[in-house]
Amino acid sequence: MKYGILAFVLLVTPLAAPAAHAADAMVVLKNFDFSPMDVTVSPGSTVTWKNMDGEPHTVASADGLFRSPALDQNDTYQFKFDKPGVYKYICSIHPKMRATITVK
């Protein structure tokens, strides 16, 4: 019985870790668009952006909370969202590229 519980804990722990990270999200920048354009995550989640275009892009929030350097092709940028809210952002080089991260 004792061994049974231990085996259960060992089995569950590695599974629990990815579950916690499942709240993290990935956004790709491709063909002059963010995809997906609207992402919802829980507080404490990290969002990763990856530029797939040959043209550089940036990730810049409307309120100045986060702003990436120019991302070349295959470059990534990460930001951790701690507080709930709706965060609008654009590519500052191509400001028609607009998207939203919702934290709740």
């Binding site: 063909n31 002059f32 275009d53 550089p56 940036t58 702003r67 500052s92 400001p95 028609k96």
Partner: protein, 301 residues
Amino acid sequence: MTEPTNRRDALKCLGVGAGTLFTLQGGVFSAFDLAEAREDMGTPLFLQISDTHIGFNKDANPDVVGTLNRTIDMVNAMPKQPGLVLHTGDVSHLSKASEFDTANQLLSRLRVSEMHVVPGEHDVTDGPGTEFFARFGKPSNNRGYYSFDAHGVHFVALVNVMNFKPNGLGGLGDDQMAWLKDDLAGRSASQPIVVFAHMPLWTIYEPWGWGTGEGEEIAGLLRRFGSVTVLNGHIHQIVQKVEGNILFHTARSTAYPQPQAGNGPGPGPLVVPAAQLPGMLGVSTAVVRKKKLSLTDAALA
């Protein structure tokens, strides 16, 4: 008129491909062959170089240093050197200090010592007052926009990549517009004006942001002048328009071509067969001849 055989010979001598020269006088617009233009070209007023994109290394051109060097060799080989160089932005690809340093090192090889530079959006991704301005901000007190007179011509350098409009067009912003009005007010209508900025100052293609929000207002300020030349880069291809006495001209890049307006998902680097690339890269030069300002585009091949 020059005979076709002579034209070909002249082109061979120059080591450049087909070019077209545009002359503007009293609103009448006419095109000449480059070889004819060379016959009494005189001293070029300025050279326009644009979109050097130092730091770019993708398929569209893995060797932007090489093509810039070839461009500089071509300019240095001109029999008469231009009085000054206008760089219409995107000196760097990613606003990195190392990219600007490499660009400066390469451009210092030009025999023309006076260079004026406006930023492209690639040069200021790190915001105002940083790498670009540390190198090129002095004439404008770090504003980026300024004016100067040379050889009887009034030159106006504008920044339209730091106040984007919500629809993606470039913008000058209120402070710069007020400064421009003031700069042009009271100036004689007979003085030739050259305005240069990175993004097109007239709308070429709005879905890709190829234009400037205040474009109409700026054109309104320029209409009373007898000779106006508006230069930009950004779109990596030659597009021209004449409106009254205003000639709008966008220059080629020295780094890589971009698609024609609306052709594809967006204005990214265009990959072409290697043999075609040199013909799509190059510079523009301008001469004043009998009070006319003429522009010549020269490609690398």
